[in-house]
């Protein structure tokens, strides 16, 4: 009897020891789940869920518990409140997500004080990563596509003069600033730079584009928020007959969102964009990623660059859990583990720059063309390898501090 009880206690002790070893890592996910921007949140949320579903066993015996909260509008206030509570109440060890730059900017002092790493899956203002040593970015900065596009446009596309047009909010200003820096360095000449109103509503682009048409540059560089704006740009560009007038349309990948491409029609053909992801991107990881996506969410749902970044973000978190054996209690160690992390993901080879904690990735120049089956597709014209955030390399403006 005594022996039995002793054995029982030993078994319990063993089980408890085993339990303590198998950690449950709490991850706070903050994305816009409601309102006008819910679409953006869902593109990342689906990628997170898909990764967790397919790779839950990779981190055994450890588990993850994901707590989702609504990021709200791009003011920073709601994101700050909910994330602070994720840290103070729910005791999450990592916070991730963050579509809007103001959310990440508002939270920088909080995560510095709390020593909880923030792993950004979208927010693209270049200088965010300078705000706290606990910020790691897996997505991009506005400079990633725009800066290399400068040299590429001058050397390869043959744009000797460019007019820029942009939506008048921080990403628009950052993108055109980055393009101008790269382009003027290569020897090009910017003839005009036109702000086109706030991102809230889609304007009629005709007057802005007519002005550009009158100025006869070789190319026009357009930045608009991805989505409904992009369709409006193509409509005005086509109706004004600008391609026939010899003005090529170039820009970052936001110009041709994957889920809007088919509706854009003839006007879009020949548009050249710089970007780190397209769902046609030819690498085995992307093929598998897109296939799994369709299997999980149906044939009409497509991943985009945000989903690709979301996938890599969760991948990085899982690798960190493995590397630290489930113990993510020390934020500084988590960030150290992520420095220099690299993988082959849907975007191709990506790496975290140990110096800036920002992503290093390939940028592809992609042209819209008509596929043999009649649909529009994107083909890669050229690739700029291992692009860093040049804003921080060159110490431009707020990136300097």
């Amino acid at each position: 009897m005594h022996l039995l009880r002793w054995l029982g206690m030993a078994a319990v002790a063993l089980a408890m020891g085993g339990y303590a070893h198998a950690a449950t890592v709490k991850i706070g996910v903050v994305l816009p789940y409601s309102g006008a921007n819910a679409d953006l949140g869902h593109q990342i949320d689906k990628a997170f869920d898909l990764y967790v579903k397919l790779h839950a066993n990779d981190i055994a015996p450890h588990k993850v518990e994901i707590i989702k909260r609504d990021e709200g509008p791009p003011t920073g206030a709601q994101a700050k409140t909910v994330t602070t509570e994720l840290i103070t109440n729910d005791k999450v060890q990592v916070v991730t997500g963050f579509v809007f730059s103001p959310s990440a900017i508002a939270l920088a002092p909080v995560i510095t004080q709390a020593k909880v790493p923030m792993i950004i899956a979208n927010a693209g203002t270049a200088w965010i990563t300078n705000l706290s040593p606990y910020i790691v970015r897996l997505s991009f900065s506005m400079w990633h596509p725009a800066y290399p596009m400068g040299a590429y446009a001058y050397d390869k596309i043959g744009c000797k003069t460019v007019a820029m047009a942009y939506t008048d909010f921080p990403p628009g200003k950052d993108s055109t600033e980055a393009f101008r820096t790269g382009y003027e360095k290569a020897g090009g000449k910017i003839v005009d730079s036109i702000p086109m109103g706030s991102p809230v509503q889609v304007p009629d682009f005709t007057p802005f584009f007519q002005k550009i048409k009158d100025e006869h540059p070789d190319c026009m560089y357009v930045f608009i928020p991805s989505g409904a704006h992009a369709a409006g740009v193509m409509k005005a560009y086509g109706e004004l007959g600008m391609r026939k007038a010899g003005i090529k349309l170039i820009g970052p990948m936001d110009l041709i969102p994957d889920n809007k491409l088919q509706d854009m029609g003839e006007a879009a053909i020949g548009t050249i964009v710089m970007g780190h992801y397209a769902r046609d991107l030819d690498n085995p990881q992307n093929k598998a990623f897109v296939a799994e996506w369709h299997k999980a969410y149906g044939p009409d749902s497509y991943p985009d660059f945000m989903s690709a970044a979301g996938w890599d973000t969760m991948h990085a978190i899982f690798d960190t859990i493995k590397k630290l054996n489930g113990d993510l209690s020390d934020g500084a160690k988590v960030v150290d583990a992520l420095k220099g992390w690299s993988t082959n993901g849907p975007r191709g080879h990506v790496m975290i720059d140990p110096a800036t904690r920002d992503i290093v990735q390939d940028e592809h120049a992609m042209e819209v063309y008509r596929q043999p089956d009649g649909k529009l597709g994107e083909r890669v014209l050229g690739t700029v390898k291992a692009v860093k955030d040049e804003c921080k390399v060159l110490k431009v403006g707020r990136c300097a501090s």
Binding site: L31, Y33, S34, G35, A38, K68, R69, D70, P73, P74, T75, G76, A77, K80, T81, V82, T84, E85, I87, T88, N89, S101, P102, I105, A106, A108, P109, V110, Q113, A114, T125, L131, D168, F169, P170, K173, S198
Partner: protein
Amino acid sequence: MDASETQAVLSARSAARARAADYLARRHRFRWPECLPWLLAIAAFFLLPDRMTFGAQVLIMVMFALSLDLILGYAGIVTLGHAAFFGVGAYTVGLLIARLGYTEPISSLCAAAMVAALIGFGTGWFLLRYRGLTLLMLTLATAIMLQETGNLRSDISGGYDGLPGLTIAPLFGIFQYDLYGHVNYLYVLGVLGLIFFFVRRIVYSPFGQALTGIRENVRRMHAIGSPVHRRLVTVYTIAAAIAGVAGALFTQTNAYVTLAVFDFDVSAKVMVMLILGGTGRLYGAFAGAVVYMVLEDYFSKMSPTFWQFGIGLLLVLTVLFAPRGILGLIEGASGRAARRAGP
């Protein structure tokens, strides 16, 4: 007119004056249920120590709604641009810290109140000649113009990316702000208490009665010689100052401000809160802001995707069954109970 007639007129006048003074004093008298919101706010501090970041946000919205109540509820000024003053206050504090390195919290609050009052006076003097839809459009335009000015000079304002990392000096040089927001909460509660005391004085003063008169029948107020425009501008300026203080607290508690503080959403949300709570009732601002924000928080935790449906449903129900807001509902219920208890 002989002496006795003059005497009669004078005594009638003084009797009327005494009646009016008595009426005001009676309304101004302290009532015990008024303790309730404050006791709840203090209880929240002890019972929910983990929720103080959120709590401070709620109190700030209460203050903002209170300022709107002063002009919408009491003076009947319909505005869709109240965020203008919230934003001006928020940016006064933000710019003081980011551009001038001035971090003392209390004097920054006063500066925010003054700047917001100045803008309120300037725009109010011009706008309050108009009423109805015209006024609605003009107030909306004011907020948009301020926002666009900020966007134009984003080298100063930081644009929509905002002014980050606004650290504030310790309160009274002693209390440091903390991650859990305890100091923030008490600080905001203290300021709200002062402002509320001030607003309560105003609405139960003869000036407050004149505002109600303007709301109910502006022609009659003109006819009895009340300086309508001057009173409207005065109350608009006061409300602007209070909204400015709320905005300043918003910046101080968030340590961050972006141009989004001028958004139409902000103006609309505060109006919805006030209508939900009940306009022209002082405590409507409390009930509305607290109920709205707590439900928003609760629903959005329950379902981060569909929570807006819950809020929408609540608003529809309010408009259908409680057009005078939550406080109107309570007043109605207590009135019925009193009648039933009476003879």
